[in-house]
């Protein structure tokens, strides 16, 4: 695809529109949530400084909120607040709360008791003491808390891209999925700069003299509000249907780029994490999503695949890819892994995925049940020596395949097995393999072709239509370039697909991607 290695600078130049939008979104997300966190945290901090008994429970709760993994917190928000900026802002608000509450509390309780007593003895009311004495004196400490919260929020706001709230996370996660260092840096560098700049500006505010601070603290909310408005500048768009695509899909030729090139599809698109995308479609937060054709959630959430009448999504064979040196070290490995070759077809895989994703059966149980039904299961044998290290990407299908390979190796050989599941996207998994952190993981031919090899468009066009040709090309190239072997395909085809809710597709009479385009362009 690339004639030469693109520099970061070229990438930024090319994507400057997106970069500006994302930066504005990022600033907006950070400051809306910060403003709300101040609006909630400051009064709470004052309250617990007055009623010290409440300080334990309140600070405890805020502390617990802080420890919830960000992506999990975002997940919890979706049923309540949907996708997009609302849940992202709510989650960021919760993260910013602890430093603000704690510093307000510390600042106010740290005011010299003599000064407080003097204020009381002069005949000030409680409100007067708060606004004329305690808050002004606590302000440097409170500002330090706001500063911490701002920096935390710049960081956590990158995750907002996982639930379609935009921000610089779109580049970062897109880059990780697409194995594009330029894209990662184009997101990560501005994010880091934002953190540094905000921290610096707020530190200046902190260092101001007490007198000027009074005026400054009046300007602060106004300034924050202004920055918060940034968020709404780029979001002045609308459309009939909303599409939610993963960051990876957004950057791939057999993804959003292909949709634009070959179908000229124009749809209002948000970037969203694979983990929440299906549910969001089910909850009518999204209308069109980019899914995998064998995904169990397809069945679970009543979605249908739109026919790819112009063939932009190449068929993807799934097969284990293994380091050559591992195959030499473990002579029985290839033979064992190939036990699974050709055993799973599309509908079987969808069914297996459905059982983990929707019926919440463990991948191990699903894997074992399947192996037993095919008569492949054997009890684990005694193992010794160095372990075979199996990796997997962070979604259900890969967990199931990982579990199957683990059981097969334990049942048919004496090699111990260690698993490193949940290695994020393609880039992380593949890097782990090439850097000898794992020995094998299941991969898809299309991903191998378009993400790792990135051949010229001519080559792609010549082999893409035929799954077997694709497989052979990929197998040969991987051997040459990475010293990694593609074993026999497992049988099923997991390709990208556009999906909609069954009911909506039926109502709008959309069966193919061309139908979708026609519907969007009507009226």
């Amino acid at each position: 695809m690339n004639e030469h290695q693109q520099t970061l600078w070229e990438f930024i130049g090319q994507q400057s529109d997106k970069l500006v939008t994302q930066t504005f979104e990022h600033i907006g997300l950070t400051f809306i949530s910060l403003l709300l966190a101040i609006a909630v945290g400051l009064p709470l901090g004052v309250l617990i400084s007055r009623r010290r008994k409440l300080s334990g429970p309140v600070l405890g709760t805020a502390g617990i909120l802080q420890t919830i993994p960000s992506i999990a917190l975002l997940g919890f928000m979706i049923p309540v607040l949907g996708i997009g900026p609302k849940p992202a802002i709510a989650a960021l608000l919760l993260y910013a709360l602890l430093p603000i509450i704690r510093n307000t509390y510390t600042g106010i309780t740290g005011v010299d008791p003599c000064v407080r007593e003097a204020a009381l003895a002069m005949g000030m009311s409680n409100v007067q003491i708060l606004f004329r004495v305690e808050l002004p004196l606590a302000m440097p400490v409170i500002l330090a808390g706001i500063r911490t919260a701002a920096v935390i929020n710049v960081g956590v706001a990158t995750l907002a891209s996982l639930i379609a709230a935009g921000g610089l996370g779109e580049f970062i996660f897109g880059g990780i999925s697409l194995n594009s260092t330029n894209m990662i840096l184009a997101g990560a560098i501005p994010a880091a700069l934002l953190a540094i700049v905000f921290d610096f500006l707020l530190s200046r505010l902190q260092r101001l003299k007490l007198t000027t601070l009074k005026r400054a603290s009046a300007l602060l909310p106004a300034g924050l509000f202004l920055l918060a408005c940034f968020y709404f500048v780029p979001s002045a768009y609308a459309g009939k249907l909303i599409a939610g695509f993963t960051p990876e899909f957004m950057g791939r030729q057999d993804g959003d780029l292909g949709l634009k090139d070959k179908y000229s599809l124009k749809i209002h698109t948000v970037v969203i994490s694979d983990a929440v995308m299906y549910k969001a479609a089910y909850l009518k937060q999204l209308d069109v999503i980019s899914g995998y054709s064998t995904d169990g959630r397809l069945k679970a959430f009543g979605l249908i695949v739109l026919a790819d009448n112009k063939h932009i999504f190449p068929p993807y064979y799934a097969a284990p890819i293994v380091r050559e040196d591992a195959l030499k070290k473990f002579p029985k490995l290839e033979q064992t892994l190939n036990l699974l070759a050709g055993k799973i077809n599309d509908s079987t895989m969808t069914e297996l995925n459905y059982r983990t994703d929707y019926l919440h059966q463990s991948p191990e149980k699903v894997a074992k049940d399947f192996l037993v039904s095919k008569g492949l299961y054997q009890l684990p044998q005694e193992a010794s020596g160095e372990p075979v290290r199996i990796g997997s990407k962070i979604f259900g299908e890969q967990y199931i395949l990982g579990a199957m390979y683990t059981m097969l190796i334990r049942g048919y050989t004496h090699y111990p097995v260690s698993t490193k599941t949940g290695l994020g996207g393609t880039k992380i998994c593949f890097d782990a393999l090439t850097n000898n952190q794992i020995d094998l993981y299941p991969e898809y031919t299309g991903t191998g072709l378009l993400v790792m090899l990135q051949p010229k468009q001519k080559v792609i066009d010549s082999i893409e239509h035929d799954p077997n040709e694709t497989f052979q090309y990929v197998q040969q190239q991987f051997e040459q370039r990475f010293n990694i072997r593609w074993l026999k395909p497992i049988g099923f085809n997991n390709s990208y697909a556009l999906m909609m809710r069954q009911q909506q597709a039926k109502d709008l009479k959309i069966k193919t991607i061309s139908d979708l385009k026609r519907y969007l362009e009507s009226k």
């Binding site: 003599c114 003097a118 003895a121 005949g123 002004p136 007198t211």
Partner: protein, 369 residues
């Protein structure tokens, strides 16, 4: 109250009656308690003088500790009452109950014949001056802003506040350029003066002082104490001051209320405590400084009849007759002067150190105390 002569007594009584009772109707001497000593009158005007503060059977308990245990006392208008005792004796708790920084568990406190809980607490506090050991100045306010806290709460005009502030800083010997400075730019002594200015600005009739000179070094403390005694502003105030410093109590008090373990051990003039102690505790408490306190509890005025003028020494530093004996002797020693010239109205007497000590002995040994 010490009255110099029968004429002055008449004058003071007239003034008082006119002020308190309206139209002058005549004297009521029946309840006057007289103490006549040579030409000097000591009058106890207990019944004629208005009672400013009345504390009645007040108690305060913290858990098991009875911080203040059923105490009662009265403070007359324009009197300086010092609450004296070791730390933990309940003196500060007693003081803070007067402006309701601490609420008593039981008992009544009247200020100007009104129970203090009848007034809104903020209004009560704005009408009572309060100065404390660590000044409690607001670090984020300038000196001018600090002094203006109460008038601003009372919504005074800006010009009135400025005028009164200027008046106070000159009376309190503060440099006028300090107004725009912050408290931490001032010396300890200056901060204490600012604290006093803040307490005095709204001209409250009652002033509460919680160890106001406690945080100062001895030199500064002595200096400020003397200024404090000389300050006209304060002569029109009813002052209750807390201290653990016996010397300070004897220097400044009209009456001393000695406390121990939440109770009042004795309340009376410094001389009462020295010469008519009610318990062994009082004697013991004062013993360490007894001689010095005796010198302090006598003014030159009281020794006046016992002193004879020696005209041989012509050049001697002059002192007012109201100064106590201790301070007079201190001054002589400090200046290495052979004699002092005491000024009493138009009269003057120049006396030597020996004369003062012998007059003191005579006074101590005379039958009427």
């Amino acid at each position: 109250m010490k009255i110099d002569s029968i004429y002055e007594l008449r004058f003071r009584l007239e003034e008082r009656y006119l002020r308190c009772l309206g139209p002058f109707t005549g004297y009521d001497f029946t309840n006057l308690y007289w103490s006549l000593r040579n030409e000097t009158l000591t009058l106890d005007l207990a019944y004629q003088q208005e009672i400013m503060i009345s504390v009645q059977q007040v108690s305060k308990q913290y858990g098991q500790l009875r911080a203040v245990d059923n105490i009662s006392f009265e403070v007359k208008e324009h009197e300086v009452l010092v609450l004296l005792g070791t730390s933990g004796c309940g003196k500060t708790t007693t003081l803070k109950m007067l402006n309701r920084l601490i609420e008593p568990d039981s008992g009544t406190i009247l200020i100007d014949s009104q129970p203090i809980e009848n007034r809104p607490v903020e209004e009560l506090r704005r009408s009572i001056g309060y100065a404390m050991q660590n000044t409690g100045l607001f670090p984020h306010y300038t000196v001018a802003q600090n002094i203006a806290v109460v008038p601003r709460l009372l919504k005074w005009d800006r010009s009135k506040i400025t005028e009164r502030t200027k008046e106070l800083i000159s009376k309190l010997h503060l440099p006028s350029d300090c107004l725009e400075q912050y408290p931490n730019q001032l010396s300890g002594g200056q901060q204490q003066r600012v604290g006093l200015a803040r307490a005095l600005i709204a001209n409250p009739p009652v002033l509460l002082m919680d160890e106001p000179f406690g945080a100062l070094d001895t030199v500064t403390r002595t200096k400020i104490q003397q200024e404090f005694k000389a300050l006209d502003e304060l002569k029109q105030k009813t002052i209750i001051m807390v201290t653990h410093d016996v010397q300070e109590a004897f220097d400044l008090a009209d009456r001393i209320c000695l406390m121990d373990k939440g109770r009042i051990v004795q309340i009376g003039t410094p001389r009462d405590l020295l010469h008519r102690p009610t318990t062994a505790f009082v004697t013991e408490f004062l013993n360490a400084h007894r001689l010095q306190l005796e010198f302090k509890s006598i003014t030159l005025d009281q020794l006046w009849p016992l002193l004879t003028d020696i005209s041989t020494i012509t050049e001697a530093p002059t002192v007012p007759v109201g100064l106590n004996l201790w301070r007079s002797m201190e001054k002589m020693r400090a200046l290495a002067a052979p004699a002092l010239t005491i000024v009493k109205k138009d009269e003057k007497k120049t006396v030597t150190f020996e004369q003062l000590t012998s007059a003191f002995n005579q006074y101590q040994n005379s039958p009427v105390q």
